[in-house]
């Protein structure tokens, strides 16, 4: 996240904050006092923990460095999707909870985006699952590793496009949401967390950053799995870390360039963009099914 911000700044002719700035901000927020609205209920206090916990659990289920995953037996693709949706759902509730107008506005927009984006996530990964014959993410990675030609199959490419668009939507990047804006009226994700402060805000910011990492690893490892450690030996793990970093840098650069080149879509155009991604995902499933 820091990397994207820094690259954007350089592309805009600014110097930019250092890459590790988000960590500094987290430390700052953890040390700050928490201010909670009088109107807020327990839901408001519980949400940061639920959101953070759900993305942390997701990281265990997503192949980030190595397969087979230690928690393979616990959950598969569907669990990942539902866990992510659980966080979004509670965040929206928390946005509504204190009764501030921006929270409600953000929540309604977020649900619109989520309702369109989540099926695409599931469908795009299903396209791969069809090829692998399993909804287990670890097995999908393993399958692509053993059959490199499938990485450039039309199903894979369509699914990659779909998931990339959804990544932008789910993590609140341009052209769906503008993470750099201060204008409450245009916000989606930021509007929901406007009422949060201190360590609660830190948890939510952190969760958002981890979510971005999860999506980037999904993009990187599901579609270009090389480098992912198949056996838990030190040498392959080092290789896995390096390859993951390279993938993340490439994806971050792609997002930064994209965000510099484009403007934010008018809110009512967002569903159109997400429909495109859904259609791509659908095409991916169809083609993997037909070409299997």
């Amino acid at each position: 996240m820091g990397l994207i911000r820094w690259m954007k700044a350089r592309l805009q002719n600014r110097r930019g904050a250092p890459v590790w700035q988000p960590y500094r901000e987290l430390i700052k927020l953890f040390n700050k006092e928490v201010v909670v609205s009088n109107n807020a209920s327990w839901l408001f206090r519980a949400t940061p923990f639920i959101v953070f916990a759900s993305v942390v659990v997701v990281t265990f289920l997503v192949p980030i460095l190595a397969v087979p995953l230690p928690f393979d037996g616990v959950g598969d693709l569907l669990v990942v999707v539902y866990l992510l949706l659980l966080g979004t759902f509670f965040l929206s509730l928390a946005g509504l909870d204190p009764g501030s107008p921006f929270g409600g506005m953000g929540a309604s927009r977020e649900m619109t985006v989520a309702a369109l984006a989540e099926p695409t996530v599931a469908l795009a990964i299903f396209a791969l699952a069809l090829g692998a014959g399993s909804t287990n993410l670890g097995q999908i990675v393993a399958r692509t590793m053993t059959d490199p030609a499938s990485a450039v199959s039309p199903g894979h490419l369509f699914a990659f496009g779909a998931l990339f668009i959804v990544t932008l939507a789910e993590t609140g990047r341009l052209p769906v949401d503008n993470p750099a804006t201060h204008l409450e009226l245009t916000m989606i994700h930021e509007a929901m967390i406007l009422e949060y402060s201190g360590r609660y805000l830190a948890l939510l910011e952190w969760a958002a950053a981890v979510k971005l990492l999860v999506f980037f690893s999904l993009l990187g490892n599901l579609f270009v799995p090389w480098g992912v450690s198949m056996a838990l030996t030190p040498a392959t793990l080092v290789l896995a870390v390096i390859s993951l970093l390279v993938k993340l840098v490439v994806l971050a650069a792609a997002v930064a360039v994209l965000e510099t080149r484009i403007a934010k879509l008018r809110l009512f155009r967002v569903p159109e963009l997400l429909s495109v991604s859904f259609v791509l995902a659908l095409l991916a499933v169809t083609s993997s099914f037909l070409l299997r």
Binding site: Q12, P101, P175, N178, L185, K264, R266
Partner: protein, 527 residues
């Protein structure tokens, strides 16, 4: 041209309103000054509208109870694209301070009459919308700050809520925003009535920045009024200072030297340029296109530094004085070359931004202010020119050296954010051409002329096309040669209200974009 129009006008006044309009005389060749019976003002306004296509531009009240046993109300009428102006004065008695309202057929009059009631306690019976306008909610009901005998008092919060119009209906909800905003901007409260994401009504509550500027002018030496005028709206330093100085010069009969006139053009256009460049970046930023924003601010910074080397102040404070200008062009500075480089840079950014289809999609058709609505509200400046109203005080009522320079007034018809953006881009280019011409043709000579004493109770005014639109300063001297009454109108006073109309049927996330494309001043609106 204007002599003929004025002759026709005085003829018509003598025919139709012989008993109501008296003492008509021509001042400074383009202004017809007269006195009018208060009850006959609506008849006068209707005659001017039907026969001369002239509309009310400005109203000012002055407390003359000490020497004339009443309040004077001054009306200024002007017709589109014509140089002549009619200045009519009505005297209302002190014991029954009432004027005949023009508000039933003239929207700007409605704003002015409400303001006059709030500040002077002069009522306008029959006004369709007599709510307070500039009046602070905590002021006592009998407190009228611009009366000469007003004494400052302590105010406390009475706990009453501000009565907003409620919009009912299924699925309609309200979004309140401000007055404290997330950015470093002035205070203003906006209340949206929304169905889903679509705005069906927007009420703005402004007037959080009352500073008593007009009261502060009173009793000042005219030369000391300039620093106050410069601070009316921070981004319009030159515009307001120039309007104030020209009004004082008109009252005292001062003839400003030619060199100073050309230098004033340079300063006013520099102000227009840096504001247009900066705002273009802000509009692009509100669409999420941050590249244009950072580059426009780089260019703006370059222009501000140029301002500093021109005048010693980045905002050009202290550059204009009554009678002329303070400083000459610095030796060794090639203004034309510097500006050519800056505008080439700006053109490249504009090209990049407007070629981006996503940006264009956000600007196109957003926040449309139709020509009839704009005309009804008497809007000024680029907001008017983007809605197809071809007005520009630099051309219509030439001041400084504009009558000797050639320039184009860009006009667009569509009235959307894109039109306002394009008008400003084109104006920025014209500004560079104007500065180049002014520097080339600048004659040698003195920088300022001596100023005579301000005559007592002789109203004078001046119109200046600031970057935001037409600024009017109206000045009257007192018996001691000091300022008795100064009335200031920033274009924001008339341009704020139509924003609500431009927003109708737009979606909430587009409000910041619409607002930025209007970019009116909160401070200049609330003096």
């Amino acid at each position: 041209m204007s002599e003929r129009a004025i002759a026709r006008l005085s003829g018509a006044l003598a025919d139709a309103l012989a008993h109501d309009v008296t003492d008509a005389h021509v001042v400074r060749s383009t202004e017809l000054h007269c006195s009018v019976r208060p009850a006959a003002v609506p008849a006068l306004a209707r005659l001017l509208r039907s026969e001369f296509a002239a509309e009310l531009l400005f109203m000012a009240a002055a407390d003359r109870r000490a020497d004339r046993a009443g309040f004077e109300i001054h009306y200024l009428f002007a017709a589109e694209r014509q140089a002549w102006l009619l200045h009519a004065t009505a005297l209302v008695p002190a014991d029954t301070p009432e004027i005949s309202s023009l508000a039933t057929f003239c929207y700007p009059a409605s704003r002015f009459e409400r303001e006059i009631y709030d500040l002077f306690g002069i009522a306008a019976p029959g006004h369709p919308d007599p709510r307070p306008l500039v009046r602070h909610a905590f002021w006592p009901a009998d407190y009228f700050p611009l009366r000469k005998d007003a004494v400052p008092r302590d105010f406390t919060d009475d706990g009453r809520a501000f009565p907003f119009t409620e919009v009912g209906g299924e699925g309609v909800y309200e979004i309140p925003v401000g007055p404290v905003h997330a950015g470093i901007i002035e205070p203003g409260h906006f209340r949206f009535s929304v169905v889903g994401e679509t705005i069906i009504d927007m009420k703005s509550r402004l007037y959080f920045t009352h500073k008593g500027t007009e009261k502060l002018f009173e009793g000042r030496d005219p030369a000391a009024g300039v620093e106050l005028a410069e601070r009316i709206s921070g981004d319009t330093t030159v515009g307001h200072a120039l309007a104030f100085c020209q009004a004082v010069e008109a009252a005292t009969g001062t003839d400003v030297p030619d060199r100073a006139r050309h230098l004033r053009v340079v300063l006013l256009e520099m102000e227009r340029l840096y504001n247009h460049v900066g705002d273009f970046g802000m509009i692009a930023n509100d669409t999420g296109y941050a590249v244009a924003h950072s580059h426009c601010f780089r260019i703006r910074e370059r222009l501000l530094r140029l301002n500093k080397s021109l005048t010693g102040s980045r905002l050009m404070r202290g550059a204009i004085v009554v009678g002329g200008v303070r400083t000459d062009l610095p030796a060794g500075l090639d203004l034309a070359v510097e500006l050519d480089a800056a505008i080439r840079d700006f053109d490249e950014i504009v090209g990049l931004t407007l070629e981006n289809t996503l940006v264009l999609d956000r600007l196109d058709g957003t926040g449309r202010l139709t020509t009839p609505t704009a005309r009804d509200h008497g809007v000024l400046g680029y907001v008017a020119r983007a809605s197809g109203i071809d007005i520009d005080a630099r051309r219509d009522h030439p001041f400084a050296a504009y009558d000797r320079l050639s320039f184009r007034v860009p006009v667009h018809e569509t009235g959307d954010v894109k039109a306002r953006t394009l008008v400003r881009v084109e104006e920025a280019r014209e500004s560079v051409k104007l500065i180049r011409q002014a520097v080339e043709r600048m004659p040698a000579g003195p920088l300022s002329a001596p100023v005579r004493e301000l005559p007592a109770f002789h109203p004078a005014f001046s119109l200046v096309e600031g970057w935001r639109g037409t600024i009017v300063h109206w000045v009257m001297g007192g018996p001691d040669g000091r300022l008795w009454r100064v009335k200031v109108m920033d274009p924001s006073f008339l341009n704020w209200r139509p924003l609500s109309y431009a927003l109708l049927k737009n979606i909430v996330p587009d409000f910041p974009l619409c607002n930025k494309s209007f970019n009116q001043s909160y401070s200049g609106n609330d003096l």
